[in-house]
Amino acid sequence: MQIVLKRILQLVFVLLGICVVTFLLVHMVPGDPARVIAGDRANPETIEAIRKSFGLDQPLWQQFVTYAGNLLSGDIGQSMRYKRPVTALIGQFIWPTLFLTGYVICLAVPPALALAIASARKPGGLADQIIRIVGIAGMAIPVFWLGIMMSRFFGVALGWFPVSGYGKTFVDHLHHLFLPALSTAIWMVPVLIQSLRAALIEKAGADFVTAARAQGAGEREIFWRTILPNAVLPTLNLFGVIIAFLIGGTIIVETVYAVPGLGSLMINALLARDYHVVQGLTLMFAVTTVGVTFVVDLLSALIDPRARL
């Protein structure tokens, strides 16, 4: 219990740090923020009024207190472009992204598991060598280029899949997001294989494996009943990393396939200099990553009491 409390304390500090970083992010805008908000042709009175209404005339620490207070009450800012709260925008754009993320995990995890097991069953064997080389090679493919080429081949040339949009019904979503999900999955599978394979091989050298072998267990039994269950925890711990990877990947893929999700929202906000949307999304992505890692840590502790948080 004490360990859990310590972990929660650590979480609070990281969340506070995230607040500071996202707060400073908007203050890194070159030039006078009030002028940026007002636009190029605003007169001095307007700029002064904006400075007052946004509290930009107050000292930095006071602005931060206001910002943190707003966050606590669930207000993460207002979009200049859409004239709507950022939370409302996120609520509108989040569904395609969530769908895509789930889709990618469904497409990427089964082959990654199978290949990692095939690879780790006989390290140094032919299958392992090939999977290793393909894994390293896969990381060198630019995901946006892969997306464009696949949309040209499967979408335009063969006409099997739509090349943009999100669709209306569940089946429509599956159809529209197949190519985006596949592009992301192809890029993610190598990362997964490498980590899983390393975890499996590390467990294969553990003392309890030697003990099982000394008791006369067969190699097949050792692999499936001793090594594999013990490799579950390191795999679970990967989840935070995977989410961080996925968020980065979906931003690019959503842009390529014009999926109306959070990634497209982020890119459009960046290009339109809608800074509070950028700030809000960065905050949300970071909190998501931290939250997933936290839950995974708690789960690990639940599954394996030895796990140190």
């Binding site: 740090g17 890194m28 390290p123 140094g124 464009i148 690019i252 390529v256």
Partner: protein
Amino acid sequence: MSIVTQPQATEAPARGRLNWTILVAGVIVGGWIVLAVFAPWIAPYDPNAVDILHALAAPSADHWFGTDQVGRDVLSRVIHAARIDLVMCIAGVLPPLLIGTTVGLLSGYYGGVVDTLLMRLYDLTAAFPFFVLVLAIVGILGPGLLNFFIALALVGWVTYARLVRAEVMSIRDSEYIQAAQCLGYSDRVILTRHVMPNAFGPVLAYAVSDSVLVMLAGASFGFLGMGAQPPTAEWGVMISDGSAFIRQAWWICMFPGLATISLGLGLAFLGDGLGQLRRRQVSA
């Protein structure tokens, strides 16, 4: 059986094969460096010469890789773009490497407040998805390569610092360091002459692998309009330009993509080979 009896076999293929990997990867990377350095002499055309009459021409004897929407020669642009993309690898990796190594050395060797601060900072940086944080910083500072490098330096150094710190902590209490301390060498000499050379191997291997990620990130930023700005020839920018004409002219996108993959492969296998070489030396 083999899982336990020969764990080394997975990490260390036969010496001959490993040397081949490094050689082939080195030739690919070296080839791109030569192309980049001598680009004006090797490229058949001026990369920015517009020739509307021959716009969107398919690959032919005159234009091996075809021409783009305003008639620029794609081959010449791919060759010239290598300059930008290689510079991205170096300028994107070197500043974080230098800052991170310095901080990591001091933090690992002395410990204390600096060390605690570094680890908390690492926790914080790790909380942000790397790509998102770099993207947000570049977006706020304004699109362009310089801001891309600034963002990478701001975010990337922490990983290097943590890596060096771990190495230094494992070296710090070894006998040859104690010997150097007993002989009365100053901390500066011990750090630069004894700790640093022994801690740098893994960092170098990581840096080469990191350059693949940095190059891909740079190309992605070019594609998103956040990195190199048109009309500069850069692979990501070229792919972005060509994506609007993908139905009529696949070659505008295809060749810069293949160029990115080949350099990426070269760097990835070079990094992997160097890492294995080091592990072999450590175990030998």
